[in-house]
Assembly symmetry: C2
Homo-oligomer: 358 residues x 2
C-alpha cells in the first residue's frame, strides 16, 4: 500500500454571502400559484384522467414556473406499495466485474422506467447483508433484487414471506419458492471441463468458491459429470474451496502449483479467483498454456488482453440484471402470479490459455 498524503488547503476567496435558503416548492405552492386545490395538482402529476384540459395546462404551467418536483419521500410514505419507484439491489461483491455487469443491467432498466436503485454490497458478510436488507425494508422499497449469501438465507426468506417482491439473481433459495434468474452453471462448468478433457487433460484442479453458495455446487456437478463422461475417476484432492476473492485465488493456486503431481489444468470458479490464480502462476514463472492450462468461470471485457488471452465461461451479467429488473417489475404489478425461474445460457470463450497435451 502506498503512503497517502492529504494536502489540505482552504479556499480563501470565500465569499460566503449567507446563501438565501431556496425552499423547494411543494404541492401547496403549486396549488396556490395556479389557484386550485392541492388534490388537483396531485391529479395532474399522476395523470389522473378526471381533470379538465384547461386546469391541467394551467397547473402544468405553474409546475414549470416553480420548477416543482414531487417529493419522492412523501410519495413513498403515503402510498403503501406500488408506484413509489424504488428498487433495492443487494449483491455479494461489487469488485467482481460480473456483478458490475448485473448492476448495469438493473440500472439500465430502472433508468428507463424512472426507478431509483438503492445498492448494498455485502462482501459475503452475512451481518452486512442482514443490515442492508433491514435498511431497504425500512426504506419501503417496491421490490428487491438480491444474490442471497447462500441457499438458506433467512433474511431473504423473510422478505419473501412478508410478501415483498423479490427476485433472486445468480443463486436461488432452497427452502422457498421465489423468482430466480440464473445461469446454467452445471452446463457451463461441464463445457469447460469437457473441453479440457477433449484436449488430453486428466488432472484438472478446481478452485471453487465456498460450497455454501449454490452456484459452486452446481459448477462442481458439471465438473463431475464431464469427468464421468470420460471415465476419469473423481479425485477430491483436486478440489479447493475457500472465499471468493483475489487473495484466495492466489493462495490456492500457489498451493496447487506446489503439488508433487501437479495438475495440467486449472478450472477456476470465478473472476476474482482466476485473476488471483493468474498472478500466482506468473509469480512462479510458470508458462501458460505450455506448462499449465487454465479456464475461468466469468469472462471479462479485458480477458483478451490478459497474459495469455484467457479462455473463459461467459455469463451474461448485463442481461441477467436487466431480466431480473423486468421480472421484479412484473412481480410488483402482480404479486400473486406463479413464480418464475429463468435460466440463461453460458458460452465458452476459447482463447489462448489452454492447449492440447500429450
Amino acid at each position: 500500500m502506498p503512503k497517502i498524503c492529504f494536502l489540505k488547503f482552504n479556499s480563501s476567496h470565500l465569499s460566503c454571502k449567507r446563501l438565501h435558503f431556496i425552499k423547494l416548492s411543494n404541492l401547496k405552492a403549486v396549488a396556490e400559484h395556479s389557484k386550485v386545490s392541492i388534490a388537483t395538482v396531485s391529479r395532474v402529476i399522476n395523470n389522473d384522467p378526471k381533470v379538465s384540459k384547461d386546469t391541467m395546462l394551467k397547473v402544468q404551467a405553474s409546475i414549470a414556473a416553480l420548477e416543482y418536483k414531487p417529493n419522492r419521500v412523501a410519495q413513498r410514505l403515503r402510498s403503501t406499495s406500488k408506484k413509489t419507484k424504488l428498487l433495492g439491489l443487494v449483491i455479494p461483491d461489487i469488485q467482481n466485474p460480473f456483478f458490475v455487469d448485473v448492476v448495469r443491467g438493473v440500472e439500465d432498466y430502472a433508468y428507463q422506467n424512472n426507478f431509483a436503485v438503492m445498492i448494498g454490497n455485502f462482501g459475503q458478510d452475512e451481518k452486512k447483508e442482514k443490515l442492508y436488507l433491514d435498511i431497504l425494508q425500512s426504506e419501503n422499497i417496491d421490490g428487491l433484487i438480491v444474490a442471497p449469501i447462500h441457499g438458506k438465507d433467512k433474511g431473504v426468506e423473510n422478505l419473501v414471506k412478508k410478501n415483498i417482491p423479490v427476485v433472486c439473481i445468480d443463486r436461488g433459495l432452497t427452502d422457498i419458492d421465489v423468482d430466480v434468474v440464473k445461469v446454467d452453471n452445471e452446463q457451463g462448468a461441464f463445457n469447460a471441463i469437457d473441453h479440457l478433457l477433449s484436449i488430453g487433460h486428466k488432472r484438472i484442479a478446481y478452485i471453487s468458491g465456498n460450497f455454501k453458495i449454490p452456484t459452486y455446487i452446481e459448477r462442481l456437478a458439471g465438473y463431475k459429470r464431464a469427468l464421468n463422461d470420460y471415465g476419469i475417476p473423481y479425485d477430491e484432492s483436486l478440489i479447493f474451496a475457500r472465499d471468493t476473492d483475489y487473495k484466495s485465488g492466489f493462495e490456492i493456486a500457489s498451493k496447487i502449483l506446489e503439488l508433487k503431481e501437479r495438475p495440467t489444468a486449472i478450472f477456476s470458479g470465478n473472476n476474482l479467483l482466476t485473476l488471483g490464480a493468474l498472478e500466482a502462476i506468473h509469480a512462479k514463472g510458470i508458462k501458460i498454456p505450455e506448462e499449465i492450462s487454465i479456464i475461468g468461470f466469468d469472462d471479462m471485457p479485458w480477458s483478451i488482453s490478459l497474459n495469455p488471452p484467457l479462455s473463459a465461461v461467459r455469463q451474461p451479467g448485463f442481461d441477467m440484471g436487466r431480466k431480473a429488473a423486468e421480472m421484479l417489475y412484473e412481480r410488483i404489478l402482480n404479486p400473486n402470479s406463479i413464480k418464475e425461474k429463468v435460466i440463461l445460457k453460458t458460452e465458452l470463450m476459447l482463447r489462448k490459455s489452454t492447449t492440447r497435451i500429450e
Copy 2:
C-alpha cells in the same frame, strides 16, 4: 454477442396458501404494547436522555418483541435535513474499476455509520446525470458525492446553491466553491511521461478522455510540463481525445499504430482506454514493450496479470471514496464551514510495459 436463451418453467408444487400479510409494526404498535405514548417510544429510539431507565427498558423489550424497525421514509420526511441517513452517490462509469473502488470506499464509511447509499451511474450522459440529481433531491438525501460530468456542471452547481451538502470527487467545479477530493493529476501524468522520457522516448502519444473533463486537462498539463523539462517540443498531432471508454481506446490506438512515423510510447488517460489500446496493439501483433511502450493512468488489481504486466499511475480510489464520505459527513454536520480541497497523491507503478530505447 452470444445468443441468449430464456428457458422458462414454472414451479408447479406451488402451495400458495394466502400469505397472511405480516404488517410491519410501527411506533403506535410499540406504544400500545408497552403502554406509553408514541412520543416516548420515539425518544427511546433516538436515545433521548430524558426518559427514565424503567420505561426505556420496558419500551426496548416491546421493540424487540414486535421486531420493530423505524421506518426510514417517515423519519426522512419528518426531520428536514440531518439524521435521515441517506447519501447520494453519482458516478460517471461504474464499469471503470477506479470508480468501483470509489464506491467501495464510500460504502465502507456509510456502512460503519449506518447510512444507506443511493447510487446513480450516468455513463457520461448529461441527461442521465441530471435525472439522477433530481431523483436524489426528491429523495431528500442528506448529502451527495458526485463526479461532475464537467467543470461547469449546472446540475451540481444548483445543488450546492440550494445548500445541499455536496462533495465532488475526481474533479471539481470551476465556477463555484465546493468540497473536493481528487488526485494530483498533473503530477501523476508528469511522473509517467518523465519516466518515459528518461528512458529515451521522444514521440509519446497521449490517448486522453474528453477535454471537457477537468481531470484530462490537468493530465495534459503534466504531459506538457515533462516534455518541456526535456526540451522536447509539444506536438499536438500526438494528442487524441474522445470518449472515455474501451471502444475509444481501441479505435484511437489502432489509428496511432498506423501513423507513418509511429510513436515509441503511448500514455493512456484512463483504465478503459488502456484496456482498449492493449487490445488494439495485440490485435496487430505488435510487441509490448519491444515495439511500443505503454503506461496507463489508473492501476487495476489485475494489472500484473496483463500481457505484459502493465505500468500504471495508481490512483487511490478507495481512499478517495472514503475521504469524500467523511468530508460529506462533516459538511452535513457543519454546513457553513470553509470548503476544503483534498489532493491525494498518485503512485507510478513500474512493471513490464515500458522499456528503454535507442
